[in-house]
Symmetry: C2
């Protein structure tokens, strides 16, 4: 079976990415290349046009030879940032001493403006504040920084798929429409067929919600497939409107059988995280933006240093109880806003201090039972076999646990919490039919991506964000 790549439509012009990858074996001439004008500089004998096509962080430099006649000048004066352009029969000129290893050279007559821009086209200047870009969701992805962030997210997804494939996980798609609240925690979105709203009937015959976590369904699938994972939208109708919250976000959830120890889970999560970082480092040249907004974003050196430091050593683990002790010692030196107290969940300020104190991502394990969800495996000391992975600046990015696999213990816990047994019979029945020790975790993709990329607002890590106080105009 021969490769099919050669059969692709030849009339699609090459992407800039493919041109940059072709430097070792350049063609003499590029028949056709298309992109958007990023900048134009007119000189006496030539013009310099920087094109972008959204597949690379760097522009493609095209030199236009002027022959000085009037028509020629008129045409060149029409060129504007944001226009789309086709260049035919451009010559490949190696420029080995410059940052960009080649330029294209073409005559004026080989240029064709494909699409015009409004006079008010806003992406004129080199720098735009993120706040400004966010106010223009239709055009913002054309900026160097947010375009790079989209490509970065795509690369992270690819790395995750490779990692889970290499460990024999099956990728699955649990339902988005569900009848219940997996953890009893989140604010829910309710769903109904639009045409049923008037007659008050119900499409599914029961109240229907958007999922907040697919974990319970994943457990069903893990009992059949051993190891499974998903990357799926989840929804929380939270009313808090911060740069760490989204009403619609993508969650990676993984579930694996025959694991009975929370440290095995943390080691797996650390390997996954580090694999993604390795891939980031290997592809840094095409991943990092060439323009960093002046506010609220880390520069490339900072990002690469962080990636390298993540791989340098094994990350620390400490139990929740040990974390509380550390926090209380610190509280004696410099007071937190909230007093650390055994039995209460860690506050964001506590998490951030721990990670910054240890200068590393840190796994905090074995939280008090009442801080966590009903399905977690119970230890003997009123704690559960769970972990949170906390990273500097951001706080929690991964949360996971061993699941309670004993039927009686699980049923007692449901009763203790006053939860209805009937609604969860499908779930608890798993413990009566070939139950095995198992566990898993969830990772919010936008948090993960924005933290790795050094972006300080997770809303930039999803193309069009949905959040409290946000609009849904487009």
């Amino acid at each position: 079976m021969p490769g099919l790549i050669g059969r692709l439509p030849t009339r699609l012009p090459p992407t800039f990415k493919s041109l940059f990858q072709n430097v070792a074996n350049p063609p003499e001439k590029i028949e056709s290349v298309c992109g958007w004008i990023k900048s134009v500089r007119l000189m006496k004998k030539m013009a310099f046009v920087d094109l972008q096509d959204g597949t690379t962080p760097y522009p493609l430099k095209v030199i236009i030879r002027r022959d000085g006649n009037d028509l020629d000048s008129q045409l060149l004066k029409q060129l504007r940032t944001g226009q789309s352009l086709r260049v035919k029969d451009a010559l490949w000129k190696p420029t080995p001493t410059r940052q960009q290893p080649f330029e294209l050279e073409a005559s004026v007559s080989s240029f064709q403006i494909i699409g015009q821009v409004c006079d008010t086209y806003p992406l004129q200047k080199k720098y735009h504040s993120l706040a400004y870009l966010r106010s223009n969701p239709v055009l913002k992805h054309r900026s160097n920084y947010l375009g790079a962030l989209m490509r970065f997210r795509s690369q992270v997804e690819t790395s995750l798929i490779r990692f889970f494939n290499e460990h024999d996980f099956t990728k699955v798609s649990p339902p988005v429409l569900t009848s219940g609240d997996c953890e009893g925690a989140g604010e829910l979105f309710r769903v109904e067929s639009n045409s049923r709203l008037t007659d008050k009937s119900s499409y599914f015959g029961a109240p229907t919600y958007l999922t907040v976590s697919t974990q319970l369904h994943l457990e069903v699938l893990a009992m059949a497939l051993n190891r499974c994972w998903t990357l799926t939208p989840c929804f929380r109708a939270e009313e808090s409107d911060t740069n760490r919250h989204l009403a619609e976000f993508w969650m990676l959830e993984a579930e694996m059988c025959f694991v009975d120890n929370v440290q095995d889970l943390t080691m797996f999560a650390e390997s996954m995280f580090k694999f993604v970082v390795q891939q980031c480092l290997l592809n840094q040249a095409i991943l990092l933006p060439s323009v960093i907004p002046p506010e609220n974003a880390d520069d490339s050196e900072t990002i690469i240093a962080r990636w390298k430091s993540l791989l340098a050593s094994e990350w620390p683990r400490l139990t929740y109880s040990a974390a509380i002790e550390l926090l209380l010692k610190q509280h004696a030196i410099e007071e937190f806003k909230f007093i650390p107290e055994w039995g209460k969940d860690l506050k964001s300020e506590h998490e951030k201090w721990l990670a910054s104190h240890l200068q590393s991502p840190v796994f905090v394990t074995d939280y008090p039972r009442d801080c966590k969800a009903f399905y977690m495996k119970q230890n003997t000391d009123n704690t559960v076999a769970c972990f949170d992975l906390i990273v500097p600046q951001m706080g929690e990015v991964i949360g996971g646990s061993i699941r309670e696999d004993e039927y009686d213990t699980l049923m007692q816990e449901l009763s203790r919490r006053g939860m209805k047994h009937n609604d969860l019979e499908w779930y608890t029945s798993l413990r009566q039919n070939g139950s095995v020790p198992h566990g898993g975790f969830g990772l919010g993709l936008e948090r993960f991506v924005s933290w790795l990329f050094g972006a300080h607002n997770i809303r930039d890590a999803i193309p069009f964000h949905r959040s409290a106080g946000g609009s849904i105009d487009m």
Copy 2:
């Protein structure tokens, strides 16, 4: 940067898949292996236990040496289908003359039942009808056939990611929550924060729906990234309850710039489809089920023959007008239920006849403008530059088009259809700012997966289906 694979938790037992892949370099002894009992046969001197762990279509055969004492017999008599089991210190015995190239051998004392099953555990017999399995959504994925279908879907997703990466596409995640109906076609699901339902306020300040297609948002992203794609849940509150409809399904949508010809699009779609099929053939040994349900599912030989025939030649293209001519000729020989007529959409019976007549997937292009959505590029003869890919038995699996990239033509079409300009201003403004010829297509993942797998009901291609007349109990 060394590989991280070696750092994975050693206490996780190997998957069966990894054991089968290790045949060339087998260990002498397997420290620990875990799975679920598929069948048990007790003999005088030994017992045969078939285990499954959901990572392979074939069971792992384990031979238990009996030493004939009473305790030994009692333990073995407790073994039941569906129980989870741990086997320690099993010896690797090559069996080069059999289908399975090795067996494991262990003593009775090395067996441990991890989890019991109910006396009524239903997956006893070798064959279960699909109808029966569907009635048991918690256990059905443990069946050989539906487990294989889940792994197959996962493999298809992996192939798609590889294909799009190789062609410089960025994977993106357009919003699921939207304010409008992309095509004005589907029945919509309405969404509201549960806590806002009582006071009739609105979380987003405007009516909010679940997306029926992400195409319009993808076009925004394509204008920034050149080529992008997504795999995302879409929702249609259709009232038809057939084995070809889902209320929640996953859709692949791809959008690419600088394509102005529908034949370039069809060639790209054909390459994508064939790449996936190539990967299926390469991995057939671990993909195909070992047990095919007696009803409504193709056997492995049929499936492999179909995969090979898909790669054998270029697929036929014909225009809608040519298709109508063919259909009318056939109608004169043997009447269709619906008379083929230029200007009306093709019925399912017409599509199926065309694909079966041509014995191949077939691209039908250039449908009448009024059969298709507003955004398609207009030809000069009241048709639009679009295509449907029709496959035998199933009908349409991919639909795509060149998009109308001229502002004035697009606005006139909106007016002609009586559509509000305001709601789509964000979309139409793309045509005023660096517009380029572009196009794309959508593919329903469950249709694609079930057709390739020879499964006749798309509801089996998603772990827990949501559809009209279905329940949402779990």
